[in-house]
């Protein structure tokens, strides 16, 4: 069973670059934070697809770390924006 994973990875990387456009344009800091939060989700998808493409099961742990930890940055941005830090 040979699945072509790489075209889908290519599409997702192009989507990451499109999120970069919102990071550049975004009028407020909230828009930029939303863009970074989106990229977090997309990067998890890319990592899982690449891990299957490389045929290495142990690489999936990296995706779990991303999903688990990179929203701490979003929480700090939200706390700063709300004036609660």
């Amino acid at each position: 069973m040979n699945i072509l994973w790489m075209p889908f990875v290519l599409v997702l990387v192009i989507l990451v670059l499109l999120a970069l456009v919102r990071l550049y344009l975004g009028p407020t800091a909230g828009d930029r934070a939303v863009s970074v939060d989106t990229v977090n989700t997309l990067v998890v998808a890319i990592l899982i697809l690449l891990g299957v493409y490389f045929k290495e099961v142990i690489y999936i742990d990296v995706a779990i770390v991303f999903a688990l930890l990179s929203f701490v940055g979003t929480l700090f941005v939200a706390k700063y924006l709300g004036g609660e830090l």
């Binding site: 142990i58 990296v62 770390v65 688990l68 930890l69 929480l75 609660e84």
Partner: protein
């Protein structure tokens, strides 16, 4: 000030998960990607998650800075001690005397492709544990010290 109740509940549910996952990364450092530094950083980020969800005044009651400082020193001592035991046995510094000895972490690796056995590699998992404890304490102390320096009067 603390964040909303939803964030707090989520952070408190996620904290044991992050902790056991970081310990998994630390202990499987010789089998899977990761190791002492990476696992320690994961656990420290989990502690920071609890710190950001609560107010600073509540945090000082829950997590003492002294514990983390002691943890950092303890990790460093454990690392140096594990490296120096080899000298007392008449071997070179950092010599992996536990490998292939048959005791804890001392099995020899079977030949051929396999998924990895936990109790192999000798001294390396112990070094990983020491580094993990140290990084866990050190990175948390950085965040706690920076938070204690904020000026809260005007806010």
């Amino acid at each position: 000030m603390k964040m909303s109740k939803i964030v707090q509940t989520g952070a408190h549910i996620l904290y044991p998960f992050v902790l056991i996952f970081g310990l998994y990364i630390v202990l499987h450092g010789h089998l899977t990607p990761g190791g002492g530094f990476q696992g320690g950083a994961v656990i420290a980020t989990g502690v920071v998650l609890v710190i950001v969800a609560n107010s600073y005044e509540a945090i000082t009651g829950m997590l003492q800075k002294v514990v983390f400082k002691a943890q950092e020193s303890l990790g460093l001592l454990l690392f140096i001690g594990a490296a120096a035991i080899a000298i007392t046995l008449g071997l070179p510094f950092f010599y992996n005397f536990l490998a292939n000895s048959g005791s804890v972490f001392g099995l020899s690796v079977p030949f051929g492709p396999n998924h990895g056995y936990l109790n192999t590699a000798g001294l390396i998992p112990i070094m990983n544990i020491a580094v993990g404890i140290e990084v866990w304490g050190g990175l948390t102390v950085i965040i706690l010290s920076m938070l204690s320096g904020l000026n809260r009067k005007e806010a």
